[in-house]
Symmetry: C2
Amino acid sequence: METNGGNTSGSECALEQPQLRTGTLPTGRVSALSAEIIAIGSELLTPERTDTNSLWLTEKLNDIGVEVMLKTIVGDDEARLEETIRDALKRSDVVITTGGLGPTEDDVTRQVSARSVGRELVYHQKLEDDLRERFKRWGREMPEINKRQAFVIDGAETLPNPNGSAVGMYLALDDKHIAVLPGPPREMQPMFENFVLAKLKAAAGNIVVRRRVLKVSGMGESSLDEAIAPIYVTFPTVQTSILFNKSEVEVHLAAKSDDAAVADAVLDGLANKIVGKLGVAVFSVQDETMEEVVGKLLTAVRKTLAVAESCTGGLIGSRLTDVPGSSAYFKEGAVVYSNEAKVRMLGVSEKTLADFGAVSAETAGEMAFGMRKRAETDYAISVTGIAGPDGGTMEKPVGTVFIGYAEAEKTRTIKMTLPGDRYLIRWRSSQAALDYLRRQLLKSSEHH
Amino acid sequence: METNGGNTSGSECALEQPQLRTGTLPTGRVSALSAEIIAIGSELLTPERTDTNSLWLTEKLNDIGVEVMLKTIVGDDEARLEETIRDALKRSDVVITTGGLGPTEDDVTRQVSARSVGRELVYHQKLEDDLRERFKRWGREMPEINKRQAFVIDGAETLPNPNGSAVGMYLALDDKHIAVLPGPPREMQPMFENFVLAKLKAAAGNIVVRRRVLKVSGMGESSLDEAIAPIYVTFPTVQTSILFNKSEVEVHLAAKSDDAAVADAVLDGLANKIVGKLGVAVFSVQDETMEEVVGKLLTAVRKTLAVAESCTGGLIGSRLTDVPGSSAYFKEGAVVYSNEAKVRMLGVSEKTLADFGAVSAETAGEMAFGMRKRAETDYAISVTGIAGPDGGTMEKPVGTVFIGYAEAEKTRTIKMTLPGDRYLIRWRSSQAALDYLRRQLLKSSEHH
């Protein structure tokens, strides 16, 4: 299968793309409802924005065994929207629309969805009264235009919206289910969870889909697939997908069953075999970030950390402190972009800088050593490298990065040559430094 | 119009959503072709991935005056894909598909697109020979399965793919244009630019769409719209959209014309009026990031900067150094998460910390003062605040942030109360600090 754009970079060698095992969930002995999601709004057809509600909805639908077969993004265009809804209802069991329920003229979802199912819109006095009441609480008069939001498809259930003025609608029509939801996520999500999910779950026959996300560092997509393909092919009821992110590869596992315990057992069996094969390269089996994993390890051993950064410019500190509670183990950081700062703040020797350069194993080592000493922490890590676009040489091309690690008894460094543009090299440097720390922490804990 | 999820947070008050002026480009006296984009691949229907190729394609299409009316994301499912392509050809002038051209069985775009236009697939010996040759250069034998990639829709133009094994196809059919492109962006993008764009441009009649993006800080969507609506309504031929990002509001302007100079003149006229109204709140008229703008200002006056960060943990340094060439003005940073680090690295007085707390104007001021002194830079900025989720009090709730600014003669601070979760508060703190610096730099330059 050819991999599409998605949110990730393409594979490095298009002729040798690994087989992505994705697609429909293996059905086994359970059947599934099919769904389509229609995102409505002309702003979603601009180069700047796209629908993201469907990702959240897809996860919720998959969890109850409902498969998303098609997604459409359509503008506030009555003819195209009507055709889209009608076609979706012909093809699929569940149709969910998001957006287009505002009070203004250009929001057409209300009347078009009614027309698509061959029903009238009916006026609900109570909805208008509620709306007036809400505006009053906001200290405002309800604009007359908002009256449009008191109209609902005849026979549809009205779905309350505590976070906005647009109510949603739900209608079961023969074997079809249609839910008409507002566009803003903070309105759409609670409405779906509180009023739609249970109905679809009942219709889907209480099928569950369980998932695991394994995160892997230090391996490419191809070599990962080569290593684990012989394992996952022996689990035909598990859908295995290998996804590439900025600097890590993820293995997504999903199993569908009418018995959650069965699905969990199958997934645990496969996950354990994969971890057994890959060892410490798997840094999380529960979809954690590298900074979360490092934070947990440090917390477990009650140790503290400081970070000295050159080419990453604060990115490692920023990632570490993105984790709530990180102040328990992260104490301080130094961003030493200039040579003077490396000398003054971290005690890197002028001779080292002169003899080996700022981008060298020697400098990385002294940075980590000096950082740990000055911050009085248990560990320190450091990064110095060439992120580009300029600054590369024959000997040290763009992407050359040295990582340092210091603990009480020793200082260690590694050299990496990372591919990508400035953004990716910086990200991958931060990931490599955190991963190096993680591997050192695991080694230390083995020895004790 | 109701705003949809997109990539941004919802508006703060759903009942008072500003009118987003989006939707179809004003056509004026020029007509436009309509287009649909179909992204193909089951992996695009998972909760983890979505089509992003369409954003890039939309921009290219809009630039030549072609409007995207509908986007579909469909799996490797023959029936649904055929229906999607047929419907798109009925409704729209241009149909572009991406993905599903790989060599394996589950890639069905080749045969389904042929069937949708009522033509056969024909075998091209030369394509197979080329492919064999490429594999040879990779030091490999061509797998027999790749022969499938030597089949092309009868009568279609073959579009070469230097970056992968899947050729594309282009077919003009009566007044319709269909382009069948591979999914990976690095294959799809050059193919579209080199072989499809010119054909569509000719069909569209050499219409151009010119754009401007104005970025605004320190104002909400509503107040911005209130301020500039009286201006943009007097430019009915310009499409004006107000988009909200994490911590800034963007004003997107687009004008369509068969004369680029005319479109540019209209846009400049409107942009100048908006800048005249909003003043320094507009930090870029060419879609730059805040860190790029600050970098340009510092470069222009040849001044240097250091940064002391507490709650942002390195994020400001990371953003500043994300800009190539930033080493010319950014010298160093200190991430002082602990009180001890604030004292030891920056010389914040213990008494200040005891009397006013780490999150206070006094501490922010001493952080900036100490940072500037130790780094020997022209300026320093600092941030200290409560990013949450814990740590808030009645007096200083989560979101309380103090920003410090130091130059030779003075130190200044401001207090902000920022909404959002930990991630947003940290991001907005970094943005507010850079913006504060920017405004101080503009003031200084006025005085000289």
